[in-house]
Symmetry: C2
Subunit: 491 residues, 2 copies
Amino acid sequence: MNSRNGSDLRAFFQPAGVAVIGSLREVMGTAYGVIKNMRRFGFSGAIYPINPNPSKYGDVFGSKVYSNVNEVAQLIDLAVVITPPPTVPEIVEGCARRGIKAIIVMSEGFAESGKEGAALQRKLADTVLRTGVRIMGPNTFGVVNAANGLVTIPPYTDNDKIERGGIAFCSQTGSIGPHQVPLDDWAYPVSKMCDLGNKCDVDEVDILNYLADDPETRVVAMHMEDVRNGPEFMEAARNLVARKPLVVLKTGRSEAGAKATASHTGSLMGSDQIYDAALRQVGAIRVNTWQELWEVPRTLLYQPLPAGNRFAVITFTGGQGAIAADAASAAGLAVTDFTSATVRKLSEVFPRLGSNPVDIGPAMSDSRSQSSSNPFSALEKTIPLVLGDDNVDCATITFSCGKQLVPLYPMVVDMLHRLTKDFSKAVNIWLYGTSLSAMQEMARQLQERGLPAYLDLDVAIKALGCAAYYSRIKSSLRDWENSKKRTGNCN
Amino acid sequence: MNSRNGSDLRAFFQPAGVAVIGSLREVMGTAYGVIKNMRRFGFSGAIYPINPNPSKYGDVFGSKVYSNVNEVAQLIDLAVVITPPPTVPEIVEGCARRGIKAIIVMSEGFAESGKEGAALQRKLADTVLRTGVRIMGPNTFGVVNAANGLVTIPPYTDNDKIERGGIAFCSQTGSIGPHQVPLDDWAYPVSKMCDLGNKCDVDEVDILNYLADDPETRVVAMHMEDVRNGPEFMEAARNLVARKPLVVLKTGRSEAGAKATASHTGSLMGSDQIYDAALRQVGAIRVNTWQELWEVPRTLLYQPLPAGNRFAVITFTGGQGAIAADAASAAGLAVTDFTSATVRKLSEVFPRLGSNPVDIGPAMSDSRSQSSSNPFSALEKTIPLVLGDDNVDCATITFSCGKQLVPLYPMVVDMLHRLTKDFSKAVNIWLYGTSLSAMQEMARQLQERGLPAYLDLDVAIKALGCAAYYSRIKSSLRDWENSKKRTGNCN
């Protein structure tokens, strides 16, 4: 019954009416909590709280409570179920009979908890096969759609808003998502989120197909513990990668990690080498750390793809340039040599400029080469020369943030935006300094102008390395398409 | 004349009287700026501003201005020189004649800037050889001593205080130091800092000898671009490592990094393999990134050395446990199996507990196993069992920070301190969540109780891996000492 059609998941993300089935006790982790979240983030569809004792509640956040989905006359295309596990199969069956197409089963206590739970989960899978209903979960926090305020993921409630943007996150656990990066302080641009949970039905293949077609999503980031169907996954991933980048954190790199992953999901996994080869073959960007999973996508979202991997870095101190050069090599970037024209022009800015990394520290502290009205005139002169160089595909600019400089940030951000926007090169900014709050403020202002800022140098450079990697994938896909056209060969 | 005696550097860090020679214009990067910093951080010694036009200034921050060091009758044991490069050799010569033992030459424009500068720097080296005066620099920001407020490093001025603590930082550029990590928001525990600059005299060997003897310093972190004398460096490093851990970020890991390093320092370097082997041989902890240089020392400072590399992790979600297990393997840690007694006791806390990584998420969301008065009772019961296990040497505890939880932090921090303090195991805390400000607040409170907190999971675990590595170094040194005693063999 699973047609594996991307549009299948539409009801999970764009439902007109949502039944939320479970306890209406005013605490988190209940149906009440889900409804509260949806109201808070301004969900634009209808909400139908479902509880056996509707008279006890009257209404919840303005929505009338019903005792059963069958009592609701209007269209319901999504049901969210948070009830004790033994009750779930019957409720789900009832939803399917009612014609509800999509069900998110949030309840825990299924395959992840032992034999009894596994038997209950098999019943859900059976309902899927018999009725064609689609189930996300069980053991999931559900979904986020930043476009319509559909937010079922409970931990999201610490934030006051969701920054609507182009990055989709898909995870196998609701505790891993952009709601676990500092969203309130420094908004993270999200399109959709999805916690697949135990995957009794909807799995990574469905979500990849859906996100490939989703016009709001420009980059997909995925936390993956296992894959249910290898060939299908590869096809879906390959299809998505042809259209947008796919960043994957796959756990189980090490033996210990594989053991921990298996114990968490209860699933059998193949060896990491197989996953690694498969991810490489489909052109996915495999990242290795929690931080990279969130941070790499931002450069992919905000910046043009670099034409190649030739990297430049502009620093305020030579010591950092050497650290950046090591990081670039580790990220697969080549620290480029400038053209002789650029070398000449740089040396006209300041005699010791000309090589890459570009250390503008001496120029900045030299009063002769500095304009008194702009303490960053060395940046002003250097950035266009570096980004305009034919040997440069991408660059990191480092910037020292101090509290004393905060009043200057709007001017600096304007300048950085103005100097970088006309080059089709991937640029990001590494911020360092004495004050984390100052760095956050600067990062926020830069992001508003489409300049991704990082508090970690290595991650900033890694993000450019990943962008260059994806650029190579894209151009090899193009070459392959072109050769197909020329030879008429479809393989 | 260089006796390479650790106590040689005492005048650089504990001078009774300091002459600061240079412009008294009220801007940063002048003698005025240095004096301002020293006053601000409460330097306890005497300060003598030296300027050819004393009548122009009268006094600077309460210190009378002199036209020449010879006019000062009192003891001067340190001079700080920030004058135009061509004037420096004569000034330094004058200081040496005056009997001043230590000179910090802050001025730029020596070997790093070309031929002329290199000639000037040779004059300084010549003065050292002839007179026995010790020179730090040129092209240095100088020193910090948190114990007496001697702060010559200009960029430090964005901070209002220095957190006095046990970590010494030594760098080859003043732009790399703990004044470039968010010190004001989350104080970094510093004993001494030192920017070696161009190393015309004082070099890494001197500073290692000094810091080995310094009772305030318990961990040494070093940014290194090159080494002047390999065998001497190895001896000094080996001597230090026998007493305290040495964390080194050596740039030039890659070809591009080596080229950038050479161009920055103007020095010839050996191949990275040689450095790597040497650092390994002396038992230094080599780290790879900017962040690791600051973050690894904190676990070494605050926590006992683990007896071995057997690692446990307690998380709020199984997905993170798997990520942590991969990170542990990468950091050289073994994700341990608990003893059968611990497995039994954990399963009594909650049926699904017992394996490592320890996922307390299900126990926390299960109302039966939770106390209503303490939402963290699952942590309360689990931590002592995990840390008490004979198979566990070190552990990371992860904690989700939300703004809503801030009022609970004092209680949580009390609890974490109480539950961890009686085990001689290395423990650190990884904080994640929605609010960076909440995470910072929690980190600050934890650090006050001696629990190092991290905002990056991989760095937290890497720090434990480094602690386990150093523990192995220490025990092999002990074994070697013991075998020497037994055999009477001195080699």
